[in-house]
Symmetry: C2
Subunit: 413 residues, 2 copies
């Protein structure tokens, strides 16, 4: 079954690579319309998922993610239309040069081929991942969570119909309907058919994919993000930035989870930070030096410094100098996003140079790490690995390149 899906997707990817911008955009617009037009039947399928999930005792927060409402169809369809409006990166020749022997060698942007997406129980990812991979000329194989399997089957059926009506191969989208974990593991090893695997979800899912996949993976997600309050920080900037980075949204990967504070500013900064966080019912776990300044701070363990809380808790550490700050951050960070608050030119540049993370900020909130905020118009995830794509990934992350070479009979000497 899985093999058959792989063959279909590979074949579809060849056809997809030939499609022009107009054909792809036309199909996407039809998909957007179809989703809204078939909302009722998809909601009926979603109701089944919701019922199973309730019986299983799923939490309110997760039920909310799973639930499809009429409004959410409007949002999903608008999302697809926004992808239509983006520039198609496929076909661009990035550079083309003539070699001494007359060969004209250019590097052209091409689709990745077949992309696998493994995700949890958010049916909107089904539509979102399809739109982005389709826009970039790829075929996609989706493996969603078992909790939303009925919703996914209904959504994919509607998308396939819309593709057929647009005269595009319906195998551009493929869903693995068997939600068994062993099937997922088998999927992760289908190098013959799948060019790239992207896991979208929690740390557990991502670890499972990295551990088991033989297909190239882009690791996304976990963010133990730091803000370093330098001795030269403007506290007028520091306090609002920390408040925004920690509290605007607790559950995102670009949320700040740890503060590092220079000892020379600690006496002034910590009471202000504590007041702001206490007001927002946010716990602080810090080292002895920080506790000596504020009794609101509880003792941090070694483990705290490595934890992505995704909750109203933040860790704190007082350091002697910027070197110690950089070392601490590079040690405990997951390489996602870090910020320095400073008015000192040299410290700002050193932080940018020496912090080994996907996004490094001076005097701004880590919450900006996001494809939309960066101006990409889309986001398939945030990569915390260094291969292929690092940081927020837009359409370009879903493309590859090939060399095209124009000769007139050249042979190698």
């Amino acid at each position: 079954m899985l093999e058959e899906l792989g063959i279909k997707a590979k074949r579809a990817s060849r056809l997809m690579a030939k499609l022009g911008q107009k054909e792809k955009n036309n199909a996407l617009l039809n998909v957007a319309d179809a989703i809204v037009a078939h909302a009722e039947e998809i909601i009926a399928a979603n109701d089944k998922d919701i019922e199973y999930a309730k019986n299983k005792g799923m939490s309110e927060a997760l039920l909310d993610r799973l639930k499809l409402t009429k409004e959410r169809f409007i949002v999903m369809a608008d999302g697809v239309r926004e992808v239509v409006a983006l520039e198609d990166p496929i076909g661009e020749v990035l550079s083309m040069k003539k070699r001494p022997n007359g060969l004209l060698i250019g590097q052209q942007r091409v689709p990745m081929g077949v992309i696998g997406i493994i995700y949890e129980s958010r049916p909107n990812v089904t539509v979102d991942a399809f739109a982005l991979t389709f826009k970039t000329g790829n075929a996609v194989i989706l493996r969603g969570g078992s909790d939303c399997i009925n919703s996914n089957i209904a959504l994919v059926k509607v998308i396939k119909e819309a593709l057929r009506e647009s005269n595009v191969t319906e195998d551009a989208i493929n869903l693995i309907e068997d939600t068994d974990r062993e099937v997922a593991k088998e999927f992760m090893r289908m190098n013959k058919y799948v060019d790239l695997l992207i896991p979208r979800g929690g740390a557990g899912l991502i670890r499972t994919v990295v551990e088991n996949a033989t297909i190239p993976v882009i690791e996304t997600g976990t963010g133990n993000c730091h803000i370093y309050v330098d001795s030269f920080a403007s506290l007028d900037k520091a306090i609002p930035i920390i408040k925004n980075a920690k509290l605007q949204r607790l559950g995102t990967c670009n949320t700040c989870e740890s503060l590092v504070i220079h000892k020379d500013i600690a006496d002034k900064a910590i009471p202000l930070i504590v007041d702001m966080l206490e007001e927002n019912e946010c716990e602080i776990r810090g080292d002895e030096a920080s506790i000596a300044i504020s009794s609101y701070i509880k003792p941090a363990t070694e483990e705290d410094y490595g934890t992505e809380y995704l909750a109203r808790i933040i860790s704190a550490k007082v350091v002697d100098n910027i070197d110690e700050a950089i070392e601490h951050i590079n040690r405990y960070s997951t390489g996602h996003s870090e910020a320095i608050i400073t008015e000192n030119y040299e410290n700002a540049q050193r932080f940018l140079d020496e912090i080994d993370s996907a996004c490094v900020y001076v005097n701004a909130s880590t919450r900006f790490t996001d494809g939309f905020m960066f101006g990409f118009g889309a986001e398939i995830g945030i990569s915390t690995q260094k291969l292929h794509a690092r940081g927020p990934m837009g359409l370009l992350a879903l493309t590859s390149t090939k060399y095209i070479i124009y000769g007139d009979g050249q042979i190698r000497e």
Copy 2:
């Protein structure tokens, strides 16, 4: 032991990232001199490897690859000096734009971090891989074959000394001295310390790494390269190109292993091809249509079409049209290099568009797929995967990027 190596390499990578071009080039020049100056002691170690290998009954060809002579030290040192002359890609900001909120966001080229190289028994790879990873500001962990372990230990010792004398951390280069296979497998899973793994060697080695690694891998190597002789081919170009692509060097991954011939030109082309290949003692295995034209051709099996011979054998298939040619090639190719021979504009463009390989040629030999021939000035291997790097890899393949963001107090709304 392995963990300790990982910690050392990670620490070294932080220091490496801070080095300027001048410091890196100065160290590389010292390494080049040191290799030549210490040639005798390295040759003494190499003699031990040669003796063990002879006792094991290693073939002459492999012994030749393993053997270090004074001349080879000159070549290795010159190779290092050539790397010095290349432009350092680190630090370049690829694009930098101001967002509506005033944030200035740029993407900067940075070292990959720690690169692992797993290779077979060619001690020159030790020097070559070090020079390229060092030039790009990375620390490297080398795991060479057991057959050249004494040579590698001696080489790495000399390189480390030269680094110390250049005031650069000697942990920029690290060798796994335990050549046990289980140790290699453990190494492939050291995600905490290693950012990228590059296998260099035969198909078996590469498969083992792809199967076992959890670290991101760049797959290099195997090339089942095709030449398609279109109905509009100039045979004056076709015959020399086929001769060059198949016979100039038999054992390279860009060697042509399979011919695809349009039926309308088969009667004229095949006898000329056969004459040339027969003269060069190269066997041809083809389909019925080709055998009907020349009895020199032996029957090909399905397996032949998927085989990278690396020998005086080539497969051949006659097709009805360019569609069938493209389908056949996309089916059996390893995605390395393919060429069309044609004077027809449309067929040339279709071939370039629709062949899904790293390098696609019109009227030129596949033998040009090479970092030096492409003008990169260096080559760390040829990638046949689509993620991160595809085709010949120069220095850029050993780099990553990070976003640097200049703010003045921005928070997300």
